[in-house]
């Protein structure tokens, strides 16, 4: 507990000493990174010692706040969320030393570091909290620090707008959570979390819906994802990695924890989560395909991956409703492992995207090109992250998606029951996987391959070691899970046991999902590819390289003739035109001697820009009209209001 508490404080307050240093020197930032690292190691040690022992750690202290107690509890479910958090927080802190040094950003460097520490600490606290008040406090500290991370560059109007939308969204969600804990209170008698599997499900539909709204808003499930793309694009890259890799997972943690409290789960809960997951997955990746901004694109992929996680959770919930242990084990293991995996590879992608943005100075994919030659390490790291996020073997994304696939295939064994409809999760995942592949091959191909499209891209430089080392660490973690998934097997097994109780006692993950074989085939694949690649590389070592690419007979190809990101995605986007509604500006060239034409395309968000903004605009217009009509300055009318009010009150309240 000392280790845990000490580590928590170190991480949380890492940015404070820096406040007393000069804003343009790097003493404070190095100290902050050191404190974060030490804190992460402390908490890691606490987790290891806890798992060596009983696997759980529990401490409760009295607190004078009414209804509150300092109840901490570390269980395998929380560990699943803590592990990626620690890795990402630590790597992000080191990455930030060179990505956002105080010397280059004297105006906001200290602020960034302070809130980076606060949000990390708040998230750890939130995962440990077992009391409603403590949870909500940690939740709010996290939410507010998130706002300050997003608005780091608050001199830009776009950033301020993204931060404002985030603030509205997160507080709407928190409002739902307040109601949730108030409703949970009477059923348990205190605001401490009840033990798993003790609450009756009857009459708790409202609790579930409030939780789904509040936690779904944070997680970024599809209709509630409005804040996510703008916020992740606006924050500095290592902060985006933290927000996307860890913060949105706290929403998933909330949902998982909330559903673990109930003794039985109504079937419609699982179906709702499954449906929301499918919508988020497909629409998230379709919107991602249409983006030109690399960070917005990655942000939409977070929506997609939250969808995949929700598919796993939905399958596990259905498994509990229909009493199918295999579904629970596979669905929840897949869900939790994807939480870990998405945290790792999304952080890797954000950090390598940050390295590209740092070198080129633009977020537009079409401004890059040929970066693999100038940034060989960053490019290789991005490629690793892209393979992992597409769910391809031999990296980690495949393992978790494979578990979710197997979970949905298990539903086939129940012919005639409604559960059989859960098999549709498999083709949905396949479609998501295909689209994600298209999207990442597009980003990697357009940004890192071919010829540089702009002079800035042609002058790009490789990132310094302090930025590369965190990326390498994350890629090693991704590869580790991909090649040795069996190492996480015990943890997942225990976490599923915590969530579902004794129902799953007899079903081991290994018996329904042979992870050993996956590990073996991943090793074989990697080995064969490396060997054959080395052979081909060695045979081609003397090959001439002085010719240009074959231009199909055209002698003077220019870099602007290369395929662009929007052309690459165009075919697929047209297929999804019903949900995307891309806007196109400019005309096609026409005639024998066409004049100069410009063309641009833009895909606004399906919910925020298409539904919410017009709806609120209409609402405010209506209110303005009403006000103008009621409140128009005529004294006679005001007197009339007074008289009408008096008459109404007299008629209502006189006996």
């Amino acid at each position: 507990m000392t280790l845990l508490g000490g580590g928590l404080l170190l991480i949380m307050l890492a940015g404070v000493p820096g406040l007393f240093c000069r804003s343009d020197e790097h003493g404070g930032e190095r100290f902050a990174a050191l404190l974060t690292l030490v804190g992460a190691v402390c908490i890691g040690a606490a987790i290891v010692s806890a798992t060596r022992g009983s696997g759980e750690l529990s401490h409760t202290f009295a607190w004078s706040v009414p209804g509150a107690s300092l109840a901490f509890y570390l269980d395998p479910l929380a560990i699943c969320f803590l592990l990626p958090l620690l890795i990402i927080v630590a790597t992000g802190a080191i990455y930030g030393l060179r990505y956002w040094p105080h010397r280059e950003h004297p105006a906001n460097g200290r602020k960034l570091r302070l809130f980076y520490g606060l949000i990390s600490g708040a998230m750890i606290l939130l995962l440990l909290a077992r009391n409603g008040v403590l949870f909500l406090m940690a939740w709010e500290v996290m939410a507010i620090s998130g706002y300050f991370l997003i608005t780091t560059e608050d001199h830009q109007a776009e950033v301020r707008r993204a931060g404002f939308i985030y603030l509205i969204a997160t507080h709407t969600g928190t409002l739902a959570l307040f109601a949730l804990f108030v409703l949970l209170g009477p059923s348990t008698g205190s605001l401490d979390f009840p033990a798993a599997g003790t609450l009756a499900a009857t009459g708790s539909s409202l609790i579930f819906l409030l939780g789904l709204f509040g936690f779904g808003m944070k997680a970024g499930l599809m209709p509630l994802h409005i804040w996510l793309p703008g916020a992740h694009a606006a924050a500095p890259s290592h902060a985006s990695a933290l927000l996307s890799g860890v913060m949105i997972k706290t929403g998933i943690y909330g949902l998982v924890r909330l559903t673990s409290l109930f003794a039985e789960i109504p079937a419609w809960w699982g179906w709702t989560v499954l449906l929301l997951g499918a919508v988020s997955g497909i629409m998230g990746v379709a919107l991602a395909l249409a983006q030109h901004d690399i960070k917005r694109l990655l942000a939409y992929h977070s929506v997609e991956n939250i969808g995949i996680i929700a598919l796993g959770l939905g399958i596990a919930l259905l498994g509990r409703s229909y009493d199918q242990p295999a579904l629970i084990v596979l669905g929840l293991s897949g869900c939790l492992l994807h939480v870990v995996n998405h945290g790792l590879f999304k952080a890797l992608l954000f950090l390598s995207a940050g390295s590209v943005i740092h070198a080129v100075g633009s977020r537009q994919i079409d401004h890059y090109g040929g970066l693999l030659k100038l940034q060989p390490w960053t490019g290789a790291m991005f490629l690793g992250g892209a393979v992992a996020i597409c769910g391809l073997p031999p990296l980690n994304g495949f393992v978790s998606e494979w578990l979710i696939y197997l979970g949905s295939f298990q539903a086939l064994k129940q012919p005639g029951s409604a559960l059989a409809a859960a098999v549709l999760a498999a083709p949905v995942l396949a479609l998501i996987g295909g689209l994600a592949l298209a999207c990442f091959v597009k980003v990697f191909g357009i940004a890192f391959l071919g010829e540089p499209r702009t002079t800035a891209a042609a002058q790009a430089h490789e990132a310094p070691v302090a930025m590369l080392a965190p990326m390498v660490t994350l890629l090693v973690a991704c590869t580790w899970i991909g090649l040795l998934p069996t190492t996480l097997h015990t943890l997942l097994q225990k976490a599923v046991g915590t969530w579902a109780g004794t129902v799953v006692a007899g079903v081991a993950t290994g018996s329904v999902a042979p992870l050993r074989w996956i590990s073996l085939s991943a090793w074989l694949l990697l080995l064969l590819v490396v060997v054959l690649f080395a052979v081909v590389r060695w045979r081609s070592r003397t090959a001439p390289r002085e010719l240009g690419t074959w231009g199909c007979g055209y002698r003077f190809p220019a870099v602007r003739m290369q395929y662009t990101a929007s052309s690459f995605a165009d075919f697929l986007i047209r297929l999804f035109a019903f949900g995307l509604n891309s806007e196109e500006h400019g005309r096609q060239v026409a005639g024998l001697f066409p004049l100069r034409q410009t063309f641009s395309s833009h895909t606004p968000d399906a919910v925020l820009d298409r539904i919410l903004v017009p709806a609120f605009r209409a609402g405010s217009w209506l209110c303005r009209r009403l006000r103008a009509w009621f409140h128009n300055g005529s004294i006679a009318r005001y007197l009339l209001y007074v008289i009408v009010t008096v008459i109404v009150l007299l008629t209502l309240f006189t006996p």
């Binding site: 693999l372 490629l383 892209a386 597409c390 769910g391 391809l392 073997p393 495949f398 998606e401 494979w402 696939y405 197997l406 295939f409 086939l412 012919p415 098999v423 498999a426 083709p427 995942l429 396949a430 295909g434 592949l437 298209a438 597009k442 990697f444 191909g445 357009i446 391959l449 071919g450 010829e451 329904v512 042979p514 074989w517 085939s521 694949l525 064969l528 590819v529 054959l532 690649f533 081909v536 590389r537 045979r539 081609s540 090959a543 001439p544 390289r545 002085e546 240009g548 690419t549 074959w550 231009g551 199909c552 190809p557 290369q562 395929y563 052309s567 690459f568 995605a569 075919f571 697929l572």
Partner: protein, 304 residues
């Protein structure tokens, strides 16, 4: 285990280019020509492997990765599937997903190596490739779901086990027929055959798969062609097993039956290539969505 591994690899590596030869021969016969010898693809591969490498200035190491992964993936995937009556050497619960995702990995690197040249023609081909295969993916999954419903386990060996014979005669015959058609369409799309793609067209602008290999030459082109032949054989093997689910129990006759089935598939592809025109590009997604619907229908039939 070791014996079946060797048998699998020998069958695959030796016979894979033959089916291309049969397709070319069939097309030549339809065109009233004698055509190239059946073994021509072997001669081509040997010739390409002896040549030197030529690289464009633009390319990087990713250019090599495409052919390497494209060659190895069908090899590994073939170990997971039964060749006719010969059981798969490697088989475990859930290997069907690995099978699908291995091919996705190959696609990722093939497309990346095409984009590595910076040519807009190759970009065009790459964009089409990812679009079409992304639409074909749900069809494959629906077909696998139908087969998994009929089988006891979730390994490809069990999915394509000998219970299929009874399933054809039982109530599932209609579903199996539908997914047989769907998988055949997927085979044509994934292996860039007419009516979806024309490997022999002379116009780069209309190609899908061939245009991605425009800049690959010599041994790399050989690896791509050999990888494509392996992929075609692996996917045809599934069709053959689905259509002819009998086995004799002796490996030699089983292998003979399997090879005869593959000759049949190659002839069918050859006949389709000779008698059909190519579809217009915007029609291809419509056909693929159509096959997805067919496969959903097949799934509904077995689930009811």
């Amino acid at each position: 285990m070791l014996g079946s591994l060797v048998l699998h690899l020998v069958l695959l590596l030796v016979f894979a280019p033959l089916w291309l030869g049969i397709i070319i021969k069939a097309k030549a016969l339809f065109g009233g020509r004698v055509g190239a010898p059946l073994l021509q693809p072997y001669y081509d591969l040997a010739r390409l492997w002896r040549k030197g490498f030529v690289f464009s200035r633009t390319t990087t190491w990713v250019f090599l990765a495409g052919p390497v992964v494209g060659l190895l993936v069908p090899l590994l995937a073939s170990l997971l599937i039964p060749f006719g009556g010969i059981d798969a050497p490697v088989s475990f619960e859930g290997d069907l997903i690995l099978f699908v995702y291995l091919f996705a990995l190959a696609r990722f690197f093939t497309v990346a190596s095409a984009l590595d040249t910076g040519s807009s023609f190759e970009g065009m081909g790459a964009a089409r490739e990812v679009t079409f295969s992304c639409l074909a993916e749900p069809t494959v999954l629906f077909a696998l779901l139908v087969l998994a419903r009929l089988a006891d386990g979730l390994s490809l060996n069990q999915l394509f086990g000998d219970h299929l014979g009874q399933a054809w005669q039982g109530g599932a015959g209609a579903s199996l027929g539908l997914i047989l058609v769907c998988l055949f369409v997927v085979l044509l799309v994934e292996n860039s055959r007419i009516p979806f793609d024309d490997p022999t067209t002379h116009l780069e602008l209309t190609m899908v798969h061939e245009v991605m290999a425009l800049d690959h030459s010599g041994p790399l082109l050989g690896m791509i062609l050999y990888g494509a032949a392996l992929k075609m054989m692996v996917m045809s093997a599934l069709l053959v097993r689905l259509a002819v689910p009998w086995q004799t129990g002796w490996w030699l006759t089983d292998a003979g039956l399997f090879l005869a089935g593959l000759v049949g598939v190659s002839l069918l592809v050859g006949i389709i290539e000779s008698t059909m025109a190519r579809l217009r590009m915007p029609r291809i997604p419509q056909v693929l969505i159509g096959t997805s619907l067919l496969s959903i229908f097949a799934l509904v039939l077995v689930l009811r």
